[in-house]
Symmetry: C2
Subunit: 236 residues, 2 copies
């Protein structure tokens, strides 16, 4: 099954017109004809069935025949705030994999040791979209704009707060022993150079609990996926 | 700490000469001088301390002053047999991440639906090496040559056997409910087109238990890392 994404469709929508690129894909690549059915999600928990009425490769039109609500059956909410990696591919890789496995919200955080301070959100959201489609999910993770570390941690959170830093000393616990299942989690993942001592102090005084992800020194994106996978595993 | 890798060093070795590329890296890039210390692992659980005696950028020589045994503190053995992905990057990515998080043995398996049947083992082993160094580990995962699916599953195994396939019907359990902790595991991960019905049948009759990795449709490399991460998490 091939899944399409259109955030603007609602349960009221009767017909949709695909933009140029997708029209070309549908008509030229997938060779869809009039009367063929398409599966479309709006990323808000709905699957729409649409019948192609005009198989135009620049402006393909389809009529929505029915829809199904596809509630995400997940009993937790995971928000990962992660420092952009120096190498863009690594952050993009994290976004793809985290979306495949299951994440609800992602915020790029700019830290003292961040070598990259600029992030192309449009490009990142495209990656999240295609990972959602590819893994046949119907709810799209929320991708926030980049924000400075201290601005981020000084928000009001309604979740369990964790920071995965590499500094010795502070008394860390494994994630599995730190979380309450079926809860909301906000987890901080640092840049290549780790969080600064000041950032760690500030996060702890903001009630973030330090966690350990194991013995090995993990890359930023690996640490990020590690927590996504671990939280998912706990709730299986 | 920067870790170097040289599989030929033993506890008897008194001095080592680095090959051209590494010599250049040590002397030109890292600007190491005579008397500077290097950390080297042989990938067999040992860390060697070596003092540079000849900082030659084509043929750097170092004298081993002492060594420490660095037993891998892991109470399980994980062997993942995975079908090469159509896009090489994805298999390489799996190797890097699996090594970072912790895996003991990897075998590329050629399946009926494998679009890629040729694998460059030299390139893959370089990726495993740098991931081991980067994550500061001292034991290198065993990377086997590619082997045909049925040849692989018809070996004698001394481990718990699992197959992660996507076919409906067969009664699957989550990995977490299927494994005995602190054991040996051999887990099969299929190609983009999944294992064939014949391969699934054959594996089941060879005592491989079908497992589910969750609701979402995962890419081959994501499924592979999923099991590596899950097994690691169980043993934290």
């Amino acid at each position: 099954m091939q899944l399409f994404f259109n955030p603007n469709i609602t349960t009221e929508t009767t017909q949709i017109t695909f933009e140029k690129e997708e029209s070309k894909h549908i008509v030229r690549v997938l060779r869809k004809k009039e009367g063929d059915m398409l599966h479309i999600t709006n990323g808000k928990g709905f699957l729409f069935f649409a019948e192609i009425s005009i198989p135009n490769d620049k402006k393909c039109v389809a009529v929505i025949t029915r829809f199904e609500e596809k509630k995400r059956n997940r009993d937790y909410y995971l928000h990962v705030a992660i420092a952009p990696t120096k190498n863009n591919d690594r952050l993009e890789w994290f976004l793809e994999k985290a979306t495949e496995i299951g994440i609800d919200e992602i915020t790029p955080i700019i830290c003292e040791n961040s070598e990259r301070k600029v992030v192309k959100i449009e490009r990142l959201s495209k990656i999240v979209q295609s990972a959602m489609k590819q893994s046949l999910q119907f709810t799209i993770p929320k991708l926030n704009n980049p924000i400075k570390f201290s601005e981020f941690i000084n928000q009001d959170f309604n979740s369990e707060l964790f920071i995965a830093h590499c500094e010795e000393g502070t008394d860390k616990h494994f994630l599995k022993n730190s979380i309450t299942p079926k809860s909301n989690y906000t987890i901080l993942i640092g840049p290549e150079g780790d969080f600064s001592t000041g950032e760690i102090k500030e996060s702890l005084s903001n009630n973030f609990k330090p966690i350990s992800l194991g013995e090995n020194r993990l890359r930023t994106e690996t640490a990020g996926l590690n927590v996504v996978q671990s939280i998912s595993f706990v709730h299986q």
